[in-house]
Symmetry: C2
Subunit: 244 residues, 2 copies
DNA sequence: ATTTTTTTTGCGGGTTCCCGCAATGCGATC
DNA sequence: GATCGCATTGCGGGAACCCGCAAAAAAAAT
């Protein structure tokens, strides 16, 4: 019995994916569907699929969160991410959680039907990673030492995006207040926020901290979903998980 | 010649919409498609449709920006907004630009095909506004005097989201520094950011300003698209429109 | 093991943000 | 015209943020 799993909240897109997978000659004898990340995790338990095609932006858990849970128990599960978005927030999130032994793909929804079908075949039948060219570009720019954010810089970006004070960040990351401020300064430099223009009066036009968040949002280093995930993680580590 | 216009970047959704409109008995003899807001504006000029069905979240101009431009020249054009998102950022954006004489609809993509078809018929054939119940709820909560943000509070929220300093906001809105700070204090109160918890050391855990932005993003008072629109508007008024 | 590079850190000072107190101005209502 | 409610505003002080200077510690490279 060869089962595959589709994880996609949009009904039209689910139907389209079903069609593509059927046409992919995967010897797929059972095709299961889930409409969000939590349902996906349940389906993996119950049906033990050989591969998954998954959207990234979904209600409840995102594709990244679901993949993290799935890979925690099935590190060799091949997953093809299929998304409208090439946000570095997603790219970075995936890169952080992919097990070394897993095969994965990241295909944009703007790709042709044929490219999607061939990518699915490559990942599931040949065990090769298939990353769309645009995604590859985002990965490479993110890894550049002089302009890409380091892990520490990205963490501190998420921390200020949540609204934490410098002292709160220092406590959570177990570093000094000045060290937090040093990381922030490096972050601002990489986001191009050094020597910003002044108002006619000579006062600053931009507040560096909130401007960094704005620039990161506009360049899709972070997005609404990565903020929600960061909020959940912070609440979990500070023991404030009750709804609010 | 009775022409209608579909504005939708997702090909699957465009096809679905085409089908729904054909089934709506609109006596539609020509159905034009645009894949983004800018193309939509061009099509309105060229084809002079009797009605438009438009997505909200699109590349280049959003549905709100496109509708604003279209309504500037055709204030009676009926438009049905069809979106995956009930973000207050979109609701507020639309409410701000609808001309008094226009008929419009706001339908979520999770609504049934029948509901969508009937809503389109209601707006285009009967000239009635049709707002999904969930959207209506967002509108009402937004208008509540004690918890909804006033126009001034929402403006200052967008200003801090862009990273402007208090002085820059005062200059742009022609009010005093203290007045900006007064509006910010009211904003923080409405977002529930008064008397926030402290760290064990007695220092603040959250910085009010960035926490306000985070809460607004998570509650979808603002979103990535409204930030981009606000950035464009600020650059236009400060004369810094060159790409950056 | 040594050297080099990167990161962390303390101290101090300037700027921005936040908020209380109190007064003024403006618009709406009677 | 008087009164009331709301918004604006000036002043001042405390807290948080930002950054320079300089030194120490840790990690990476040789």
């Amino acid at each position: 019995m060869s089962t595959f799993l589709i994880v996609e909240d949009d009904a039209l897109h689910r139907n389209f994916l079903r069609e593509v997978i059927i046409q992919s000659d995967l010897e797929c004898t059972q095709l299961i569907e889930a409409a969000d990340g939590e349902e996906a995790i349940r389906c993996v338990h119950e049906y033990k699929p050989k591969g998954i095609v998954m959207d990234l932006q979904m209600p409840n858990k995102t594709g990244v969160q679901a993949a993290k849970a799935i890979w925690a128990e099935n590190p060799k599960m091949p997953i093809v991410f299929w998304s409208n978005y090439d946000d570095e927030a997603y790219v970075r999130g995936i890169t952080k959680i992919v097990p070394a032994c897993a095969t994965y793909g990241y295909i944009l929804k703007t790709s042709s039907k044929d490219r999607l079908r061939r990518s699915i075949q490559c990942v599931f039948l040949e065990g090769q990673n298939v990353i769309d060219r645009e995604i590859r570009g985002v990965q490479q720019r993110g890894q550049d030492r002089s302009e890409g954010l380091s892990e520490a810089e990205y963490e501190v970006l998420l921390d200020i995006t949540l609204g934490l004070t410098d002292q709160a960040i220092a406590d959570r990351r177990n570093i000094s207040l000045r060290s937090v401020q040093g990381r922030l300064q490096q972050l601002y430099a990489k986001l191009g926020l050094i020597e910003m223009p002044l108002l006619d009066s000579g006062a600053a036009e931009y507040n560096s901290r909130t401007r960094a968040v704005a620039v990161a949002l506009m360049s899709r280093l972070i997005n609404g979903k990565s903020i929600e995930a960061a909020e959940l993680e912070y609440r979990r580590m500070t023991g404030k998980e009750a709804g609010s």
